[in-house]
């Protein structure tokens, strides 16, 4: 039980990661897959930032009143990761829009079937 209390944050992260992964592989709609990807990414942010917190500490802005600070290094990494995540999301959505205009649908099964039909005909 002691392991539960001290590792609980990691398991929340794993749960969110699993949910994001499930959405990505089990759903056929392309936009929903991208949302699953962003959920997966946010669970990774939690994975990095949760161990940085020290109970009794504060945000890593140095001032005279506090002695213990949270770890600033993962904050820097994750700041970069968040911004890169939206660049990825924007590009992914642009590709989805083009797919929709080319195939008329954004469901994965219909797109694969349309490609198979074209391959048979060619």
């Amino acid at each position: 039980m002691d392991a539960f209390a001290s590792h609980y944050t990691y398991w929340v992260t794993v749960l969110l990661m699993a949910a994001g992964l499930y959405i990505m592989i089990a759903r056929g709609n392309l936009v929903k897959k991208l949302i699953g990807l962003s959920i997966f990414q946010t669970s990774v942010y939690l994975l990095y930032i949760a161990p940085g917190k020290l109970i009794g500490g504060t945000a890593p802005i140095v001032s005279g009143a506090f002695k213990v600070y949270a770890n600033p290094l993962p904050h820097v990494l994750i700041l970069t990761a968040i911004v890169v995540g939206i660049a990825t999301l924007a590009l992914g959505l642009a590709i989805v829009v083009r797919i929709r205009e080319a195939y008329g649908s954004i469901e994965e099964d219909e797109i694969v079937a349309a490609d198979a039909r074209d391959a048979d005909r060619a």
């Binding site: 945000a59 802005i61 700041l79 968040i82 911004v83 660049a87 924007a90 959505l93 642009a94 829009v97 205009e101």
Partner: protein, 140 residues
């Protein structure tokens, strides 16, 4: 949407505040949470909000495509410029302490300019992506 009085009033109240808040976050990033990325996103959100209420052509009149596209590149160039300034003044690439006689003031200067570069690029990219998505128009 521009006929809706509630949206127009709320927009007129909020948009200047959002822009000022973006500047506050940008310049106060040294002393509190904030910095270039957050400020760029908030500034872009203010203009997107304006575009949502008054329509995309009105937003395009306010910030034409050429301005936004130059913003996208100018910020990255500014950042690289600061890096090369460090190189030309005698240090390594992206060294800040050579930018001024006092190394700590040099750090301040370097951080100020690169955060500005980050703000310009991030705001420009977010806004340009919004223009592209909103301006595409459904084909059917």
């Amino acid at each position: 949407m521009r006929r809706e009085p509630v949206l127009r009033v709320v927009g007129k109240l909020l948009i200047p505040y959002m822009l000022v808040f973006a500047l506050y976050v940008q310049f106060h990033g040294d002393f509190g949470p904030g910095g270039g990325f957050q400020a760029g996103v908030i500034a872009a959100a203010a203009v997107i909000f304006y575009g949502l209420i008054y329509g995309l052509p009105a937003a395009r009149r306010l910030l034409p495509d050429a301005v936004v596209e130059s913003m996208v590149a100018a910020g990255a160039l500014l950042y690289l410029g600061v890096g090369f300034a460090g190189l030309l003044l005698g240090g390594n690439f992206l060294d800040y302490f050579v930018l001024d006689r006092d190394p700590v003031a040099g750090q301040h200067r370097g951080i100020f300019w690169i955060e500005l570069g980050v703000l310009i690029t991030v705001a420009g990219v977010m806004l340009k992506i919004f223009y592209m998505f909103a301006g595409r128009g459904r084909e059917g």
